[in-house]
Structures are given as structure tokens and as C-alpha cells.
Amino acid sequence: MEPLLSISNVSKSFGDLVALDQINLEIRSGEVVGLVGSNGAGKTTLLRLMAGVYLPTSGKVSLPDGQPVNKMRQSLGVVPESTGLYSRLTAWENIRYHSRMHGVSDKDAWARTSKFAEHLDMLDSLGRHTKGFSRGMRQKTALLRALAHGPSILLLDEPTAGLDITSARTVRHLVEQLKNEGGTIVYSTHQLSEAQQVCDRIVIVHNGEIRADGSPEALLESTDTTTLEEAYVTLTKDTARPRTEEDGKEGRFTGWWRSFFTPKPPQVTMNEVENDE
């Protein structure tokens, strides 16, 4: 299959922290790629590089013809982890704002939105302000917004995180429907079962490195395990690092000031605790 997006030898650092190290990845047309990893593994950073929000410290994220990725934003649909909805706008106004920025007419955007909204049971809520929306409704609106301009690649950052079982199921069904229609999707999650259910290909990201890249069957075979969970544990034996992207950017004085006014936890041994009891 033709690659839609190529990531070649990409590293990304924030201060002293190397968030991603020498990443090579190709996203091919029509596949659903699952980015699986723990919190702080580098999944969101990788997605932000694909979306052109971050520029690589070294290496290249490019289109097949060698163009830089920011040219590709026109054909990207992105659902960030925070959904990013404006609470004083209605769901449709949120969707229309983004589709207008993509240069899509309101009529075309509405046609696509209403088609998917019906599937997500959101048609009646499109005229409502998003302020009172539940997490599930916000996630669905963000999905509709990402789909309204007909993107070539859909980037989903933990789209089912925090959703109830029914909403998560609806979102997964939509992804499966898009997959069946030939859509290309990058799906970030830390749930292996979800990745197995939805994705053709699983990329395991750990401590800023790609530890495995292949179909679920290939992962099992390469790790000589019987379940994906076992395969994941085998591939990520070293301790996961804490989530420190923001800490890496914090000014030295700011950090020092905060720690100056933060009391240390009590230095009590377990023996002392037991004696007190």
C-alpha cells in the first residue's frame, strides 16, 4: 500500500528530556494503526508531530512526495485528548468553524456531519451549546468535527478515555465503519484489547521508542507469547518513565520557587509507623 505519511529517524526533545528517539514509521492508505503505550510513552508527542503541531528535533515527517507535514494539515482530521470544544458555541458551530478553516463549504460540511451524527445519535444535539455536554457527547462532537471536511488521515488521541461503556462502544463502531469505508486512522490508546479490536496494525511505544510494529498476530509470533498483554509486558520490561514533558519546559526559577514553598513529606520509617499503631 502507498504510504500517506512517513516518519524517518525522528527524535523529539523537550529540554533535557528525549520524548521520542529515532522513530521510523509509515502510515499507509486504508489502515488503522494503533499507537499503544503507557502514559508518558510518547504517543501524544508522536501524534502532534504527525499533525505538524511539533517540529522534530531531528529527522523528518513528510508526505510521499517529500513535502513537509504542515502542508498535509489540510487533509488531516484530529481529535486531541482534550477534545478542544468551545463551550459557548453549539456543536454545529464548533464543527462549522473547523470545516471553514479547511475551506469546506457549510453545505458539504453539514452533509457529512449529519450522516455521521445520525450514526452517533448526535443529530438532535448539534444545535446545543457544548457547555453542558457529557464527556461522551464532547468526544462524539470532536469526532464529527474531525470528519466534517473529509480528511485523508484521522488522528485520534485516546478517543475512548474517560467514556462510559456505551459511548466507548459507539466510538469504536464508528472507527470500524470508517475502516470499512477505506479510511486511514491513527488510533492512540493504552488499552491493548481496544487496539486489538479496532486496529490492523499495532505500534507499541515505550519510553520514546518504538518497541514493536506489526499486526497483532505478528506481535504474538515475534514475542513468542499467546496474548497481546504478555507480548506487551515482554516488550516493555524496563520501568516506564513518568510523564515529564511539561516539567521539562518549566523555568528553573519557577521550579525552585515552588519547591521552596512545598513542605517535604514526613520522614517516617515503617517501624515507627507500626510502633505508633
Binding site: G52, P80, S82, G84, Y86, R88, Y97
Partner: protein, 406 residues
């Protein structure tokens, strides 16, 4: 800029303004309050003062007069001032101002004041004991002073007359001939311009800064904190388009706020003075165009600086704690500029940031069009505005704006 880019900038600005208009609290804070602030201050405040003054006038004031020899004409003057009094003899004191045994009754307001007066040869010595923290006692003090001044004037006139001199010629040997107002060669429009130039620049500067504050923070650090910025950065618009769209929105909101506040201010002044004290300033078309240019350049710079600093901040709280104290950087130059003498002013003043625009506004409101000054303030303001815009674009180009502390 391409047509598509213009469309995106307009879409961003439109969305920001719509969001702003839908929040009635911010509308109240930035549009309604400035519109009503000066009318309320200039119209209701004097009404309140008048009613308080009328209340004081209606007070029945009772004092004690301590004297061994009270002049009957002074007695009449005290009664004429609406004061009831009891006469007591004056005891021996080092000075009349020493409260002595009268301290308690003045402090507990059993009397509103005590007037002590004694004749010393051909003059009179006096003192008034009063409690300055009491409205009643202060009123007694004021009425007593009026009565004493009136009696003193009569006494002076009587003594001059007794000496065989002409009272008017002695007391008023130098007199203005004719109408004082007629002798001022400045037109009423110029006088109005002079009066307006003393506060319009101040109001404009402070209000431009403070009304841009909330929308600047909301559209940058607010978006960052709410997590809406990341979705926006994934769109096919450049960071410059994003900055321009947000700048246009903040400038529109600020512009409306400033115009409404000036309108409210002029309405209040017009009402207060019934259009007789202050008229419309005489301004040429050139002065008006230059005024608008100066305000625009100032707004470009201020909004760009606020957007840049707010975008640097990780949260609304952080942005507020940086931008709010910075208002002092506007207030101090604005106050300072009010006292600078414009006659023969050195040109270098017109190159200092903030001060240059405030001085320009003062000159232009007085319809003084001095090409040398215009070139300097316009040139330097353009430079400062460009630098502020460049700084803002640098901040909008930062990668870390996508992350938030929350």
C-alpha cells in the same frame, strides 16, 4: 496575504467575537460598565453630594461660647449662621486651643463645638474646639468660621471707616476692568480642547490596556488551559493567521469599549456643565485623522504585547498575574504626561514609548499640528507596534503553547 488566508483570519476573529458576545459577564465588564461609569460618577455622585449637603444644612448645631466680653455683633453673626449657643465665662488657660476640661464634652458630642474668644487690647484671640471625625462637629466648625469671617470683615470695614478712609479704595485698590472671559483670546473650541487634552489621553491609554486584558487572556492562555488551542493548531492555518485573527478580535472589542467609554465621559461632562462650561473642541480634519492614527498605532502595540505575554503564560492565573501589574507601565507615563508643558517641548519626548502617543493625543486635541512631532511619534510608534507584533508572532510560533499546566 492570500484570499484564503484572509478568509481564515476573518473566521478566527468572527468566532472569537461571537464567543465573547455570548458571555454577558464580559460584556458587562468591558462594554456596559465603561459606558455607565462616568455618567454615574459625574451625575449621580454630585446628586449624592448635594443631598448630603442639604442634610448638613438642616442640622441643628448647638455650641458653647466661652468669653468674658462677647461682642453683640458677633453674637448676631453666630445666630445668623444657624447656630444655637450657650455663653460661659472663659477660664484661665495657657492657650485657647488647649482642650482642658472641655475635652470630654466635645469628644462625646454633648456639644458640637466650643468657641473661645477673648479681647486682647485692640485685637481678638479665638480658638474652636471640635472633633474632626464627627460630621456634626465639622459642620459646627464650618458655620462658626463663616460667622467669624463675616464678623471680621464687618469689624475691618468699621475700623477703616472710623479712621476716615474710603473702605472700597483701601480694601480693593487694584480692580479688573471689564469681562475677564472676554480677555482670553483662545476660542471656546480651543479651550475645550485644552480641557479634554488633560484627561482624554489618560482615559484612552488606561482603558485600551485594561479592556484588552480580559479578551487577550481568554483567547490565548484561556484556550491553552481549556485545551482548545491544540485542536486549533492542527488546522491548516498558520500561526500568523491565528495571531492576526485573535488580534483583530481583541482590537475590535477594545475599540468598542474605548469608544463607549469616551462617549459616556463626554455625555457626563456635557450633562454636568449643561454645555456651557465645555464645548466641542476645534479640530481640523487632519487633526482628527491623526488622532485616529495615533490611537490605532497605540492599540496595535498594546494588543500585540498583551496577546504575546498572555500566550507565553501557561494558565489564565499566570497571565493575569503578569498582565495586571503591567497596567502601572501605562498609568505612570500617562500621569507623568499630564504635567509636561507642551509649549517648547523637546522632540525627544515624542520618541518615548507610551509617552509619545499620549503627548501626541494632547497636542492633537488642542489642534496643534507640528510636522516634526508627528514624524517622530508616528515613526517611533510604528516601530514599537512592529516590534510588539514581531514579539507576538514569536510567542505564537512557540511549540510549547500547546501544553498547559492544567
Amino acid at each position: 496575504m492570500s484570499k484564503v488566508a484572509m478568509f481564515r483570519v476573518r473566521a478566527i476573529a468572527k468566532k472569537e467575537v461571537i464567543e465573547f458576545v455570548r458571555d454577558w459577564r464580559t460584556i458587562m465588564a468591558i462594554i456596559v460598565i465603561p459606558l455607565l461609569m462616568f455618567p454615574l460618577l459625574f451625575i449621580l455622585f454630585p446628586v449624592l453630594l448635594e443631598s448630603e449637603a442639604a442634610e448638613l444644612d438642616a442640622l441643628e448645631i448647638s455650641i458653647v461660647v466661652q468669653s468674658n466680653e462677647l461682642d453683640p455683633s458677633l453674637e448676631d453673626a453666630i445666630v445668623g449662621a444657624g447656630i444655637m449657643f450657650e455663653l460661659e465665662s472663659l477660664s484661665n488657660l495657657t492657650t485657647l486651643s488647649e482642650p482642658g476640661e472641655d475635652m470630654d464634652r466635645v469628644r462625646n458630642l454633648s456639644v458640637d463645638a466650643v468657641l473661645r474668644i477673648e479681647r486682647v487690647n485692640t485685637t481678638w484671640n479665638y480658638a474652636i474646639l471640635h472633633l474632626s471625625t464627627s460630621e456634626r462637629s465639622n459642620e459646627a466648625w464650618n458655620r462658626l468660621l463663616d460667622a467669624l469671617n463675616q464678623w471680621e470683615d464687618e469689624e475691618v470695614e468699621r475700623r477703616i471707616s472710623d479712621s476716615g478712609l474710603d473702605v472700597n479704595a483701601t480694601l480693593d485698590p487694584l480692580r479688573w476692568d471689564g469681562d475677564v472671559g472676554q480677555s482670553d483670546v483662545a476660542t471656546s473650541g480651543e479651550q475645550a480642547g485644552m480641557v479634554l487634552s488633560l484627561f482624554i489621553p489618560l482615559v484612552l491609554a488606561i482603558w485600551t490596556y485594561s479592556s484588552a486584558l480580559q479578551p487577550s487572556i481568554d483567547m490565548t492562555a484561556g484556550e491553552r488551559e481549556r485545551g482548545t488551542l491544540e485542536a486549533l493548531l492542527c488546522l491548516p492555518c498558520t500561526r500568523l493567521e491565528l495571531l492576526l485573527g485573535k488580534w483583530a478580535a481583541v482590537a475590535t472589542i477594545t475599540g468598542v469599549g474605548v469608544v463607549l467609554q469616551i462617549f459616556g465621559l463626554l455625555f457626563a461632562i456635557g450633562y454636568l456643565a449643561s454645555s456651557s462650561l465645555i464645548g466641542l473642541p476645534d479640530l481640523s480634519i487632519t487633526a482628527i485623522l491623526l488622532l485616529i492614527t495615533a490611537i490605532l498605532l497605540f492599540a496595535v502595540m498594546i494588543v500585540a504585547i498583551e496577546l504575546a505575554l498572555a500566550m507565553r503564560s501557561h494558565s489564565v492565573k499566570e497571565a493575569g498575574s503578569i498582565l495586571a501589574p503591567m497596567l502601572l507601565l501605562i498609568v505612570f507615563p500617562a500621569l507623568f504626561t499630564q504635567v509636561i508643558n507642551l509649549d517648547g517641548i523637546e522632540s525627544v519626548w515624542f520618541a518615548i514609548p507610551v509617552v509619545n502617543i499620549l503627548l501626541a493625543l494632547r497636542e492633537l486635541l488642542m489642534n496643534r499640528i507640528i510636522p516634526g512631532h508627528i514624524v517622530i511619534w508616528a515613526g517611533t510608534s510604528l516601530l514599537y507596534a512592529a516590534l510588539a507584533a514581531y514579539y507576538a508572532s514569536r510567542q505564537f510560533g512557540r511549540e510549547d503553547i500547546v501544553t498547559s499546566l492544567s
